[in-house]
Amino acid sequence: MERRTAGAADGKTDKIACRLSSLDLALGLVVLAAAGFYLWEAFKLPPPLSASDIGAGRFPSIVGIAVLLLAAPLTLHAVITRSRRAAGASDRRVTVNRPVAVALAMVMTVLLAVSFPMLGAYATSILIVGSLMLISGERRWWLLLTIPVLSAVLIYLCFGLLLNVQFP
C-alpha cells in the first residue's frame, strides 16, 4: 500500500492506494474462509424430517458451495495478476482519498452506534452531524453550531412527534 500527498485545489490531499488485485486477494481469502465456516455450519444442520423434504441445510449448503466456487477463481485471478505484474501486466489501482478522515468517520460511526442507547437519539444526532462535518473539513463555526442542532430538531419533528417513535 502506498501513501502519498498530492497537490489539490484546497491545499494538499492525502491519499493511499493499493492494487485492485491485492484487495481482491484479501477479500477472496476472507470470503473463502467465511464460506468454509458457513458450509461447515450448514452441514451440521439437522437432516430433513421427512423423506420428501430436503431439510434446512440443503439450500445453505448449495449456496456455500457456490460461494466457494466463485471466490476461488477470484482469488486465483488476483494471485495470477499479482505475479504477472512484474512482467508488465496491467493492474488497476484502488485509491482512498483522505484516509485519515475516512478512518476517523468509521471509528466515530462505530462509537456513536455503541453509545446511542446511553446518549439518546437527539444527542447522538448532534454528535454525528457535528463530528462528520468536522471530519469532512467543515470549519465555518456557525455551520458547525447550527446544522447539527437543526438536524436533531428535524429528527424530533419527523420521528419523535409525527411518527411517535420512542427513542432511548
Binding site: 484546497d10 449456496v63 484502488v94 478522515a101 462528520l132 420512542q166 432511548p168
Partner: protein
C-alpha cells in the same frame, strides 16, 4: 381492471396521499440534484419515515421519490456537467453543451417535460402489461417461480457494472446472508447465534448500510474537493411548442426503449438512457450534432430513464421480482407494511398496484410543475457542502434504523453493513445483486424446496416444464454470453500482442 384503476385514482381523494406524492417528489428532486445520492439511497432513506404510515401513502411517496430522483439527476448534469445519478450521464452529453451555449433554461425545460411525457406514456404501458402478466403468472408453479427468481438474480448480476464474477459472488453472498434466521419450514435456527438473529438480518438496516453509510464514507473522501457552482438559468419557460413537435419521434421511441429495458431485471434506467441516446443518434437527421448540444440527445436520455421507472415496476408488481436496485428496496418497504409483492398483489391488495399506476399519471403534472417552478431551487441543492449532506444522511440512517424495530440491533447491523459496503465498493463489487438476493432468497428457497418435494428430490423437474426451461436457459445465457465475450477479447488481445511486439 377499470374499476380497480378508478379506485386507485379515488385514493387521491385522501389528502394524505397527496402529501405523500408531494413529499416524495420534492425529496426526489433534492436527492437527484445532489451528486452522489441516487434514487436507491433516497428510497432507502425515506423508508424509515413511512413506518406506521398508511401503505398507499407510503408507496405513493416512495414511487414519487423514485421517479423525481431520476429526473433530478438531470439538473446537475445540465448545469455543471456532473450527473446527479448515473442515468443522467447521457443527458450531460448534450445538456451541458447547451448550458455552455447559454441555453441552460431550454435544456432544463426539455429534460423536465420529456421526463414527464416518458413517465406518463410508460405508465400506460405498465397498466397494459403488468396486469395481464400478473394474471399469466397466477398459472406459475414452484418450478417457474424458482426459475424466475434465478433469472432475476442472474440478469442483475451479469448486467451489473464491472466483473460478472464479482456480480455472481455478490449475489451468492446476498443469498448466504439471507439464510440467517429460523428456517421458515422447519423452525430450525440457521446461523442464528444470538436471539436477535432468529428473524434474520433486518432488510432496511442492511440496505441503509450498504447504500447510505457506504456513500457517506465516499462523500468524506471527496468532501474537501472543489464544488462547482451551478450556472445561471435563463429562458426556462421560453421553449416554443414547435421544439416538442420536432422531438415527437425521439420521445415515442425512447419511451418504448426505456420501458422495455426497465422491465429487464438489472438493466435499469442507466442502460435505458444510453441505448435510447444511441438509437436517437442513429435515427437523427443530424447525428453529427449529438454531443454538441442537440436537444434530441437530452430528450432521448431523459424520456428513457423515466420510462425505465415504470418498466422496473412491472416485474415488481406482476411477479414480485425487482427490476432494479431501487425496486428491490421498494419490495423491502412493501414487506415492512406486511404486503408481499407478486401476482397475488393485484387480487389481495389491489389498492397498492393501482394506486402506483394512478400516482404515476397524477404525478406527471405535479413533477413537471415542481420541476419547472423549482428548477432554480433544486439546482441550489447541488451547492450544499458535502460535509453537511454526509452528517445529515448518517444521522437519519441511525434514527431510521432504530425506528424499524425500536431496538438497537438494526443500528449495529446497519453500521456493520456500512463498513462492508464501503470495502466492497472499493473492490468494485456491485451491491445491487446483494440487495436483490436478500429480497428474492425466500422466494427462491421456498419454491426450490416445494419443487423438490413434488419431484421427490429430482432436479429434472426444473427442465421438464417449458416456461421454467426457457427462464433457466436465459439465465445461463446471461452469464455465458458476457463470459464468452471476455474470453474472445482475451484471445484477440493475445493474438494481437505478438504483432504489436513485432511492429515495435
Amino acid at each position: 381492471m377499470i374499476e380497480h384503476l378508478l379506485a386507485g385514482f379515488a385514493n387521491f381523494a385522501d389528502p394524505a396521499v397527496w402529501i405523500g406524492l408531494l413529499t416524495g417528489t420534492v425529496i426526489g428532486y433534492i436527492i437527484g440534484a445532489i451528486p452522489g445520492l441516487g434514487p436507491s439511497l433516497g428510497v432507502a432513506l425515506l423508508i424509515p419515515f413511512t413506518y406506521g404510515v398508511n401503505p398507499v401513502v407510503a408507496i405513493v411517496a416512495l414511487v414519487a421519490l423514485y421517479a423525481a430522483a431520476e429526473y433530478g439527476g438531470a439538473i446537475t448534469a445540465i448545469l455543471i456537467n456532473s450527473p446527479g445519478t448515473s442515468a443522467a450521464i447521457a443527458t450531460a452529453w448534450d445538456g451541458y453543451p447547451m448550458t455552455r451555449r447559454g441555453e441552460a433554461g431550454a435544456a432544463l425545460n426539455i429534460s423536465i417535460v420529456t421526463s414527464g411525457i416518458g413517465a406518463f406514456l410508460s405508465a400506460i404501458l405498465l397498466a397494459l402489461t403488468a396486469i395481464p402478466l400478473s394474471e399469466f403468472a397466477l398459472t406459475f408453479g414452484p418450478t417457474e417461480y424458482f426459475s424466475l427468481a434465478v433469472l432475476g438474480l442472474s440478469l442483475v448480476s451479469s448486467l451489473s457494472q464491472g466483473s460478472a464474477l464479482k456480480g455472481a459472488l455478490s449475489m451468492m453472498i446476498g443469498l448466504a446472508i439471507a439464510t440467517v434466521g429460523l428456517d421458515t419450514q422447519t423452525g430450525v435456527p440457521r446461523f442464528a447465534y444470538i436471539p436477535e438473529l432468529f428473524e434474520g438480518l433486518p432488510l432496511v438496516p442492511v440496505m441503509l448500510g450498504l447504500y447510505a453509510i457506504s456513500e457517506v464514507f465516499h462523500m468524506i473522501e471527496e468532501a474537501k474537493g472543489e464544488q462547482p457552482k451551478t450556472a445561471a438559468i435563463k429562458g426556462l419557460l421560453a421553449v416554443p411548442l414547435s421544439t416538442y413537435r420536432s422531438l415527437k419521434g425521439v420521445i415515442l421511441q425512447s419511451t418504448v426503449i426505456g420501458y422495455v429495458i426497465g422491465v429487464i431485471p438489472g438493466a435499469g434506467a442507466t442502460i435505458a438512457s444510453f441505448v435510447a441516446y444511441g438509437f436517437a443518434k442513429r435515427t437523427s437527421k443530424s447525428p453529427e450534432t449529438f454531443g454538441h448540444g442537440n436537444p434530441e440527445g437530452v430528450a432521448a436520455s431523459e424520456t428513457a430513464n423515466n420510462a425505465a421507472v415504470s418498466g422496473a415496476l412491472a416485474p415488481l408488481l406482476a411477479l414480485g421480482i425487482p427490476g432494479s436496485p431501487t425496486t428491490a428496496i421498494l419490495i423491502g418497504a412493501l414487506m415492512i407494511q406486511g404486503i408481499q409483492p407478486g401476482p397475488l398483489l393485484f387480487t389481495k391488495h389491489p389498492e397498492i398496484p393501482y394506486s402506483i399506476i394512478a400516482s404515476l399519471w397524477i404525478g406527471v403534472p405535479v413533477m413537471v410543475f415542481l420541476g419547472l417552478a423549482g428548477a432554480r431551487l433544486w439546482a441550489q441543492f447541488a451547492n450544499v457542502p458535502k460535509p453537511i449532506i454526509a452528517g445529515t444522511v448518517l444521522a437519519v440512517c441511525f434514527v431510521g434504523a432504530y425506528s424499524s424495530t425500536n431496538s438497537m440491533f438494526p443500528v449495529y447491523v446497519m453500521t456493520v453493513f456500512g463498513l462492508i459496503g464501503y470495502v466492497l465498493r472499493k473492490a468494485e463489487f456491485p451491491l445491487a445483486p446483494i440487495v436483490l438476493a436478500l429480497v428474492l432468497a425466500d422466494l427462491l428457497e421456498a419454491n426450490f424446496r416445494r419443487a423438490m418435494v413434488i419431484s421427490k428430490g429430482s432436479v429434472d423437474i426444473f427442465f421438464q416444464h417449458p416456461i421454467s426451461l426457457v427462464l433457466l436457459a436465459i439465465a445461463i445465457l446471461s452469464f455465458a454470453l458476457p463470459a464468452l465475450g471476455t474470453l474472445g477479447a482475451l484471445v484477440g488481445r493475445r493474438q494481437a500482442e505478438p504483432a504489436d511486439l513485432g511492429s515495435k
